[in-house]
Amino acid sequence: MAHVSTLIVILPLLGYLLVLINGSRLTERQIGYVATGVVGLSFVASVVTFVLLLHRHSRQVTVHLFNWIDVGTLHVPAALLIDPLSITMCLFVTGISALIHLYSIGYMHGEKDYKKFFLYLNLFVFSMLTLVLANNLVLTFVGWEGVGVCSYWLVSYYFDRDSASSAGKKAFIYNRVGDVGLLLAMFLLFSRTGTLTYVGVFARAGSLSPTVATLVVLALLLAATGKSAQIPLFNWLPDAMEGPTPVSALIHAATMVTAGVYLLVRMSPVLAISSSGRLTIAIIGGVTAFVAATIATSQKDIKKVLAFSTVSQIGYMVLAVGVGAYAAAIFLMVSHAFFKALLFLGSGSVIHALNGEQDLRKMGALQRFLPLTFPTFLIGWLTISGVPPFAGFWSKGDVLTNVFEHNKILWVLGVVTAILTAYYMSRLFVLTFRGTERFREVTHGHDPHESPWVMTLPLVVLAVLSVLGGLLDLPWIHHDSLAGFLSSTFGYVAPLHAQSTLSQYGLAAVDVAAALIGLAAAISIWRSRTEDERLTPAFLEHVWYWDDFYDATIGRPLEELAVFSDVVVEDEVIDGGVMGLAVGISRSAESVRKIQSGFVRHYALAMMLGTAVLVVFLVARVS
């Protein structure tokens, strides 16, 4: 098992190295297939590991690779932790990655930096798996930074476009702010528990005082808000859509952005100690879900809608974590990976068909031209809207049921968000596939064409997964499904009052109603129009003026401080001080040098005087 699980991580790295070293000798196709193949094999390794784990008595295996850091009391091994949580993450990360790698072969065809794209993509998968499989926070941090830097490279993939390079920088800087949180959490945990391995920390979690636990949880939450694009650090994600669409699907929807949620779930034994910390997490998640959903209703760019939708859905996951429904969070994470990857890849297929056009107002009536993209996108749309029996209904329902138990206000917010979700997704769907043809200008009058099989195959697979994903964790078989499998890895969760079947059906009915309301409203409104100032207010279109707020309160003052430091502090205070000191030293040294006359008699005199002073000092000491 140790060897197979090591392969999960090593294979993508191997692919990276293969392409890096041999890249110039391989053709475009070969590069694509090598990169896709290693990730596919990594998926196979994950499946094998999963099966082996199922047959084990103890479902927690540490695979020690080597001693990485051994300084004083700090011992950090490079070791993998194979347990239900990490293997679940591995399965969907490698599975989705393999599909998206395959899709990219078609989508990136003919790009100038084709090789570079696959290099970064493989490196990303390697980093993501390191993050997920690490048995300690430091190694997780390595993966955490690795995915961050790959995300930066891939967002600014079209670096000759100003918007892409500045979006890359924005993503990187927002993430850095979050990273500080993870570092602080590590420092705090190390100072209080003396270890950074998960098992070690959890064993000593009981000795943490509530204040420290809350601080740790808040620091972890800061880290999660950065990586998982939550309030207050969420607005890098929409800009990150500057990257190629497969990147948006893989990194900025299915995998990397869920790393924050994974971290919180992984640290659930520490979360268990701090109820105020959990409440903060729940509020952040709920509010983010709602705010992002409102913004998504008013975006004109197909990928921007999906980006805000991602922020909103991750908000749900964070909300679930906040109320202690860790299994529900992971369930939503997995099903979200299915349907959001599907939606992004579908939108990529649309964009591909329309020569790169992303504006919803220039689409419409594509149903006829994209015979495979249309039905798969339809499934994605119904899944995210929460229509039964698709996966989204079950996973979102699971989250909302748990929230209802803990906090009614947040539940209301969640249901409103569900209505908004169905609304904005229906608007997107109608504007893209129904209505009138508005794309002739961008296609120069030609008919749009369907994408090649490498792109449609992943769509079909993901559509099937979106339909069937709910089977992972149906409410009446919790104990024998995902939730039961995962439960051993979580910290203490307050047991739900056994909900009556009636109230369960009631809550499900509310979810269905929310979905149908949103669907109906959007279809009736957007069937006949493409633009409406009243329905897409500037406030929402401009993301609640969030960027402008940061610019005014942080960006500009910092810039002024920088100018001040440059002109006054650097030039006058520091330079002036150093120059003054230097001149002072030179002057005094000049006078000392005068003694150096070159005459032996003067030297002897100096020695004599020195001796005399010494003797006088000692004589004075005696008396």
């Binding site: 030293i585 000049e590 000392v592 150096q596 020195g610 001796t611 010494l614 004589v619 000491r621």
Partner: protein
């Protein structure tokens, strides 16, 4: 408590531990062999033969130190020849450093002698003798033996400084060094006499025992005595205000001799200084510490700041070595085992660095040994990357930059100073290092200046190249991985510590 000399009809030969004095025997023996060879062989002894004998002798000494260390491991430190010579970890390591310095300096001098067309084995004879003196100082356990070592070392060096007969500055420097050195020796031996008067012995361990078991009602004699001893040592290590000779002598002496001096004199004098102050006068630490405090402050600050004004490479390095002497004194000031270990570490790392530095200066000096302006180094690293980069590393090590041995050396003396509550002193020394950084960095950046300079390519002869390479390698290896050397210095403790 006075010792009455016993008149005896027969002379008792004290027991001799030959392994302990083997290094001195080898060095003096090699020197004598060369003397006889020059006298008896009809043709002139070639540089090659003379250098080979010297190199062989220093390698032999290194091998002997290895066996000495093994002997220490099995039977512990000991004294021999009526307790006048000591064999302990400190003396063994210091002897090893002298041998390495001699080896490196000989290789440099060999190429220099060929370049300057110097014939005969005189240089090597004197260098071997001087090294024997330095080794004797590291092993001496008696003020008289220290004096003996000091004089053997100094007499050899007086002549070596005057070696370049073509330059009158060489002779002038030698004369200055000789006059002032004689003066300092007189002060030293007078101090030794006074200390003998106060304690009844010149033997360091007897002195230490006497001072530990008796309270002096009138310590004036003792104080005056060790004040004069301190002056004598301060002259040798060029501590301010007893340093005035050193810039003139460093500048005047042939450059390989300067490098040789800068390393072995420091090793010998500091080793004896440590022994006298810590082993013999350890109980008087409260009295000598304030003196050392002032010496450290003056030496570090004056050394660093006057160096700023120098335009001559050798003079600048003279002041730089004054500044280093101040730092080495810090470890003695601390007076602890850790302080002694850090002093030893400093010496061990400084000696090869400074020999290699002067090796580069020798090469840049060119035929006639005249071209020593800092301007001559402009763009050296652009024209000759390896030579320039080596010089840069050596300078950065003297500056105390991380990843060079100089960093850990400075760190350890400062840490041992702070350990015993010497933070203000450590701070002053540190500030002097910041001042010193100015001239080291100015020099290093001149190496990489890209202004076009009319310069001929410097030929790097093989053995000098090896010395520079070894010096740089030691600087980097001990800088990146100081652990083993630190452990060695910590194990190399003094035999007698109070």
């Amino acid at each position: 408590m006075t010792t009455v000399p016993v008149v005896s009809s027969s002379i008792t030969i004290p027991s001799i531990h030959y392994l302990a004095i083997l290094p001195v025997i080898i060095l003096l023996g090699a020197s004598v062999v060369l003397v006889f060879a020059t006298a008896l062989v009809r043709t002139k002894v070639t540089q090659f033969v003379a250098s080979s004998v010297t190199v062989a002798a220093s390698v032999a000494v290194l091998v002997v130190t290895y066996f000495q260390w093994r002997c220490l491991d099995s039977s512990g430190p000991s004294t021999t020849i009526a307790h006048a010579i000591v064999l302990d970890g400190f003396s063994v390591v210091a002897t090893g450093v002298v041998a390495v310095s001699l080896l490196m300096a000989t290789l440099v001098a060999h190429d220099w002698a060929l370049r300057e067309r110097i014939v005969g084995a005189e240089y090597q004879i004197l260098a071997l003798a001087a090294s024997a003196g330095a080794v004797l100082m590291t092993q001496a356990n008696d003020l008289v033996v220290i004096f003996l070592g000091l004089e053997i070392l100094s007499l050899g060096l007086y002549v070596l400084v005057a070696f370049d007969r073509h330059r009158h500055t060489s002779a002038e420097a030698a004369l200055k060094y000789f006059l002032l050195g004689g003066f300092a020796s007189a002060i030293f031996i007078y101090g030794a006499a006074l200390v003998y008067g106060a304690t009844g012995s010149t033997n360091l361990s007897t002195m230490s025992y006497f001072l530990a078991s008796n309270v002096l009602t009138h310590p004036g004699l003792l104080y005056a005595g060790f004040a004069l001893l301190i002056v004598g040592f301060s002259f040798k290590i060029a501590a301010v205000p007893f340093h005035l000779w050193s810039p003139d002598v460093y500048e005047g002496a042939p450059t390989p001799v300067t490098g040789f001096m800068a390393s072995i004199v420091k090793v010998g004098a500091f080793a004896a200084f440590v022994r006298v102050l810590i082993s013999a006068l350890g109980t008087q630490i409260d009295t000598w510490r304030p003196i050392l405090w002032v010496l450290v402050v003056l030496t570090t600050v004056v050394g660093a700041s006057v160096a700023l004004l120098q335009r001559n490479a050798k003079r600048m390095l003279a002041y730089s070595s004054i500044n280093h002497a101040g730092f080495i004194l810090l470890g003695i000031w601390a007076g602890t085992t850790r302080g002694v270990a850090s002093t030893l570490f400093y010496i061990v790392t400084y000696a090869p660095t400074v020999v290699a530095t002067f090796a580069v200066v020798t090469l840049v000096g060119g035929l006639g040994d005249e071209n020593h302006s800092i301007g001559g180094y402009r763009g050296l690293a652009r024209r000759q990357p390896w030579l320039g980069a080596s010089m840069c590393v050596l300078l950065l090590s003297q500056l105390g930059a991380p990843l060079t041995s100089g960093f850990y050396a400075k760190y350890s003396v400062l840490a041992s100073t702070i350990d015993v509550g010497g933070s203000p002193l450590a701070l002053i020394a540190l500030l002097s290092a910041a001042i010193a950084a100015c001239f080291y960095l100015r020099w290093s950046s001149a190496l990489y200046s890209d202004e076009p300079v009319e310069a001929t390519r410097i030929v790097v002869p093989l053995s000098t190249g090896i010395v520079i390479g070894v010096g740089v390698a030691m600087t980097l290896v001990f800088g990146i991985w100081p652990g083993p050397l630190v452990t060695l210095c910590q194990h190399a403790t003094l035999l007698f510590t109070p």
